[in-house]
Amino acid sequence: MNWAPALPLLAFTFVMLVLPATRLVNDTFALRGGGYGLDNILRVIDNPVDRQAVAGSLGLGVVQATLASLLGAPAAWLITRMRLGGRAFWLSLMNVASNFAGIGLAFGFVALIGSTGMLTLILGGLFGIEDPFPSTGSFTGMNIVYLYFNVPMFVLLTLPALSVLKDDWQEAAAVCHATRWQFWRHVGVPVLAPFVIAGWLLVFTWTIGVYAVAYAVAASPGSQKLITLQIGATLESSVFGLERAAVLSVLLMLLAAGTTVLYRLSLKRAQRWL
């Protein structure tokens, strides 16, 4: 009785979210001829395209998380130090950027740095630089596009955390004749590191799961292979068995589970200063 009003929600989410996840795990190990085994997994490991996709997704996740941290952390720090007007401007710019997503974002980048994009034509016309940008479907091109939502996300995630670093601490360090470098080395970085790690993990997790933007930019031939794109392609063609989609999906679920646990741990560590 004490659970009754929540039962519809629990039943619904169980059927729509938990059941599909268990089904994917089942289909990863279930063999066509009956019984269970590792054949499906081995077939994915043997497939060079799948290996490229796994390497591509992991590489993109690591590069994006690292670049988003390297650009986002100083940006967030500068934003917290701004006067009210500048701060409001940058916060709304981040908000604007985080709303420009999906297919539209891919279109925006093709219109900007595609072969007949605005910036491509400007650089070609004014400075005579031919082909200044990589294809948006290449690994580098995807990195350029993905930063557009990953940097704002990192900034918006870490901005509240930066207030942890109190101005008093900086003053106290200055009173003790600490240099700016010493302050960051012994106080700033150790306090903020868990927040940055947490942001890194979230950007990594979300990057390897992106589908809409990836689908659009990878439409050109010879594009970077990614796990999510392989799953989508497998589901649409009935030529390959759906087991392949199940194996790749389970891999993404395992990565998601792993990063979520690490994310919780690093936030717990970060909370010491709150």
Binding site: W3, P5, A6, P8, L9, L10, T13, F14, M16, L17, L19, P20, A21, L24, A75, L78, W90, L93, N95, V96, N99, A101, G102, I103, G104, L105, F107, G108, F109, A111, L112, T116, M118, L119, L121, L126, Y148, F149, V151, P152, L202, T205, G209, V210, Y211, A212, Y215, A219, T228, I231, G232, L235, A245, S249, L252, M253, A256, A257, T259, T260
Partner: protein
């Protein structure tokens, strides 16, 4: 100085793709010159007269409306009971809410395709499956918003007071609690609408061309670049962006920044 250059470059990076799409939507002819040959509002007027665009927009709006209703009906009673009577509900729900937050929506779609293939093949490719799936991935936004406003409104005290006055649980929920948490429900609904309007992975996998939503329409234009209409795509892109931005600005306003909008538009 270095600081200015860093922020300036960052600002350019965020501004330029949006500017390029915006210019494309008002350009008369733009092939090999840095800026369009001329400007016109014809695409903006023309696009909403195209039957494929208007029907895709209507489909997306219908999907959003159904998803919001489903999520309100499922989430509000559960969140209320969790806050007032049984906190264990909350911890179970929070655990489930991690799934759409961390697991890619492509994976949710893949799982649903496999499940429906064996249990209910007739459901696959229908609007109702897409609506249910979208409601499932968007429900955490509703839950977090409603739970937050239940706690802020002092739902425990309110229900005690209502019970003292002789109200039964249903009366308490509809006449006392619901009016008190309207702000949270609206914030949650706006986030759910934003998710449903922009969701691509589930729509692509579960229904595809059978129920062409606005993102699916955009993808079709984008991928078939020779057949597609880039100016119309530019208009829809800027229109969708403006719509989502307005929604998130409203949410920030309603929640005074307390409700997180992060991670909504990503996938």
């Amino acid at each position: 100085m270095r600081r200015r250059i860093f922020l300036g470059l960052l600002g350019l990076y965020f501004g330029l793709p949006l500017l390029a799409a915006l210019l494309y939507s008002v350009a008369t002819r733009w092939t090999d010159t840095p800026l369009p040959d001329g400007y016109t509002l014809d695409h903006w007027i023309g696009v909403f007269g195209k039957p494929d665009v208007t029907s895709a927009l209507l489909r997306s709006l219908l999907l959003s409306a159904v998803v919001v209703v489903v999520d309100v009906l499922l989430v509000v009673p559960a969140a209320y009971w969790s806050v007032v009577h049984n906190p264990r509900i909350g911890s179970v729900v929070q655990t489930i809410a991690v799934i759409p937050f961390a697991v890619p929506w492509v994976v949710v779609g893949a799982g649903l395709q496999l499940v429906t293939a064996s249990f209910a093949p007739g459901l696959f490719g229908t609007f109702w499956l897409l609506a249910a799936a979208t409601a499932a991935i968007a429900f955490p936004f509703m839950y977090w918003a409603v739970e937050g406003s239940l706690i802020a409104a002092g739902a425990v005290r309110l229900s005690e007071a209502a019970a003292t006055c002789g109200a039964n649980p249903v009366q308490t929920l509809t006449r006392v609690i619901f009016p008190a948490i309207r702000g949270g429900v609206v914030s949650g609904a706006l986030l759910v609408v934003a998710t449903a309007m922009n969701e691509f992975a589930l729509a692509k996998i579960l229904v595809g061309a059978k129920f062409e939503t606005l993102p699916i329409w955009s993808a079709r234009q984008f991928v078939s670049r020779t057949l597609g209409d880039p100016n119309a795509l530019a208009v829809v892109t800027i229109f969708t962006f403006g719509f989502l931005f307005a929604l998130s600005a409203l949410v920030v306003r309603l929640g005074r920044g307390r409700v997180s909008t992060i991670g909504r538009t990503l996938r």
